[in-house]
Point group: C2
Chain length 361, copies 2
C-alpha cells in the first residue's frame, strides 16, 4: 500500500520548491501535482460525502484537512490551497454553483456592455475571507513542513466562465463579446484583473508562499488575440502583485500556467512570472529553449500517463526529467490536473520515480 | 443582401483549389470553409426541418442539395461532401446516433481487447454506398463548376469517439486504452486506418477530386503519443490511398487537418499529405516555416472572427493572407468549422475580402 513516504518527514523545512521557483540549484526537482487534493483520493471522497464541494472551500478546517491529505500520503514538496478559481465570481454578483457531473454553473453570466458595467472588483477580505482564513489555518497545520501555494484564475479564463455561464467547447459567447464588442470585453477583463490581483495579494498577505495563476482556456485564442485578451491581463495582475506591499513583505514566486501554451511560449516568457507552467503537449526541452533563461518551468507529465503500468510510467517520468535538463529551475508536475479516475498508487509510483531518477542522474 | 457572387458563375471550370493543392501558381488563393454546408445557413435549416441530420447524410439527393447551397450563395472555390466523419462507425457495429444539442452518441463503445477484436473494416460500397451515390450525384450537379472534396476522420479521432462513446473534454477512456492496453489500442487504430483508407479510396473512385482527413482531437496528445497513436495511422491511411488503383486513376490531393497542430508541425510535414490544414492558434508564416516547402497549407482564420464587424473582419482576412505569404500553395479557409451562430452575411464579407485583398497584392 502507499504508506507515508519516509522522505515526507523532514527535520528542517523543505524549501526545494521555492528554491526551484527562484532557479537556485537543488539536489533534486521538487514535485507536486495540480489538483493533488481531490476526487482521486478516497480520504477526500470521505470528506465530500459529508460536505458539498463549495462548503469545503468555505470551511477553513475542511479546506485545511483536504489540503494536507496528499502530503500525508505522498510527501509532495508543496501544498496547494484547496479552493476553486471561480470563487471570486460569487461576490462579483455572477453567482456560482457546482452541479454534480455537469461542473460549474454561473447563474448570471455577463454578455453585454450593461452587464459588464454592473460588475466591480470585490474586496477580498470582506467577501472571501474564508480563503484567507484557510490559508492561515493551513500554514499553522503545515508548521513549515512544505511551502503553501495559493492560486487564482487568470482574467481571460475567468472571463470565459463569466460570459459562457459554465464550461464550453467553442466559447461562442466569449468570442462573440471579444470580437463583437471589444471595448466591453476589455472593460470586463480589466475588472477581472483587478479582482484577481487584489485576491492574490490578499492570499500572499495571509501567508501563501507562492501563487499560481491558471489560464486554463487561453489556448483557444489566435496568437494576436492571446496577446491582446489573455497575456496583457495576466501581466497586469502580475505587475499589480509585484508592486503591492503584500509582495514586498513576502515575495512569493508567481507561476503562470496556460493550458495549450505551445503556440505562445515566446510571448508567455514576457508575462513577468517567475515560473511558467507547461502542459503536456510540448516537450520541456523545446519549451525551455523557446522560453529562454529568465523563467523556471513547471510540468509536464500527461495526467493520463498515470493510467500506465508502473514500469512504463517510470519511463515517462524519466523522459520528462530528461527533457527538463540539468539547468536549475524545474518543478516536476503534471501538465494539467490529475483526473478523478486516477489510481492513487500510481501517483505514489510517480513521486518515487521523480526522487529515484533524480538521485541517479 | 448576399446575392450570388458574380464570380461564382464560371465559363470554364474553376480549378484554383486543385492547383493550389498542388502548389501551382494561381491568380488568387482559392477559398472554401469547413462545415460550409450547415446550420448557419437558413436554406440548410429549411432542409433540416424536414429531415434528420443522418437522413440527409444517407439520402443522396438531400446531401447533394445542401452541399450546393453555400456554392450558390457565396461562390466558394470548392464543394465539400455533406456527411459526417462518424458514418463508418455504424457499419463497424458501434452504432451512431445524433442527439439534438448533445451531439454524436456511439451506443456500443469499445473499451477493451475483446471489443476491439469484434470489429472489422466494413466494405464501403455495400455498407456506405449512399456516400458514394451522393458523390456521384454532386459531381453531376456541379458539372465541373468547382472541384468536390470528399472526407473522413483520421484513425485517432475516430478512436476517440469509438472509445468514449461521444465527445469528451479529457478523453479518459481513450487514454485509458492507449496507456492501459497499448496493444489493443494499436489493434483498434489499425482497424480504423483500414476502414478509413478503404472508405476514402471508394470516395475517390466515386469521383471525389480531393480528400480531407480530419484529426480533430489529435491535439490532446503529447508529442511522442501524437507520433505513435495519431500520425502513424494517418500516414498508414495516406500510404494506402496513394498506392490504390483508385488514386492512380484519379490522383486526388490529400489534406491532413489536425486541430491544435502547433506542437507537431515538423512531424505533420512527414505524414505524406499534399496539403496540411492549420487551425487558428498559430500564424501561417510560422506554420509554413516549420512545415517546409513540401506541402501546401490550408487555413486559418479563427471561425469566431466571423463575429467581427465587416471592417475588422476584412483586416483579419488580410492578416491571414499576409502571413500565408506569396509562395504558391495556400488555400484560404477557417481554422476549424464555421459555428452555427454565424451570420451568413459575414461569410460573404470574408469571401469577397479574400478576392479583393488578393487582387490588390
Amino acid at each position: 500500500m502507499t504508506a507515508q513516504s519516509s522522505e515526507a518527514s523532514f527535520d528542517s523545512p523543505n524549501d526545494l520548491f521555492l528554491r526551484a521557483c527562484r532557479r537556485e540549484p537543488v539536489p533534486r526537482p521538487p514535485v507536486w501535482m495540480m489538483r493533488q487534493a481531490g476526487r482521486y483520493l478516497p480520504e477526500y471522497q470521505a470528506v465530500r460525502s459529508r460536505a458539498a464541494f463549495l462548503d469545503i472551500c468555505k470551511t477553513p478546517e475542511l479546506a485545511c484537512e483536504v489540503t494536507l491529505q496528499p502530503l500525508d500520503r505522498f510527501g509532495f514538496d508543496a501544498a496547494i490551497l484547496f479552493s476553486d478559481i471561480l470563487i471570486p465570481l460569487q461576490p462579483m454578483g455572477l453567482g456560482l454553483e457546482f452541479v454534480e457531473s455537469v461542473g460549474p454553473q454561473i447563474p448570471n453570466p455577463v454578455r453585454d456592455r450593461a452587464g459588464v458595467r454592473r460588475l466591480a472588483a470585490p474586496d477580498p477580505e470582506s467577501s472571501m475571507g474564508f480563503v484567507m482564513d484557510a490559508i492561515r489555518e493551513i500554514r499553522r497545520a503545515l508548521a513549515g513542513r512544505v511551502p503553501l501555494i495559493g492560486f487564482g484564475g487568470a482574467p481571460f479564463t475567468m472571463a470565459t466562465y463569466a460570459v459562457e455561464g459554465g464550461g464550453s467547447k467553442t466559447y461562442p459567447h466569449t468570442k462573440g463579446l471579444l470580437f463583437g464588442d471589444p471595448e466591453a470585453a476589455h472593460a470586463l477583463l480589466t475588472t477581472l484583473a483587478d479582482t484577481t490581483a487584489a485576491y492574490l495579494e490578499a492570499q500572499i498577505r495571509a501567508g501563501a508562499q507562492a501563487i499560481q495563476m491558471f489560464d486554463s482556456w487561453a489556448g483557444i485564442l489566435a496568437p494576436r488575440d492571446f496577446r491582446e485578451f489573455a497575456l496583457a491581463y495576466a501581466r497586469r495582475v502580475i505587475e499589480s502583485i509585484k508592486s503591492s506591499s503584500a509582495y514586498r513583505d513576502n515575495p512569493a514566486p508567481l507561476i503562470y500556467f496556460v493550458n495549450g501554451c505551445a503556440p505562445y511560449l515566446e510571448d508567455i516568457a514576457t508575462a513577468g512570472a517567475d515560473v511558467v507552467g507547461v502542459d503536456w503537449r510540448i516537450d520541456l526541452d523545446e519549451a525551455r529553449r523557446r522560453l529562454g533563461d529568465g523563467v523556471a518551468v513547471q510540468g509536464n507529465l500527461d495526467p493520463t500517463c498515470l493510467f500506465l503500468e508502473p514500469e512504463p510510467l517510470r519511463e515517462r517520468v524519466a523522459e520528462v526529467l530528461d527533457k527538463a535538463g540539468s539547468a536549475p529551475g524545474h518543478i516536476f508536475n503534471l501538465g494539467h490536473g490529475v483526473l478523478p479516475m486516477t489510481n492513487p498508487e500510481r501517483v505514489d509510483v510517480m513521486v518515487r520515480a521523480v526522487r529515484e531518477q533524480s538521485a541517479r542522474s
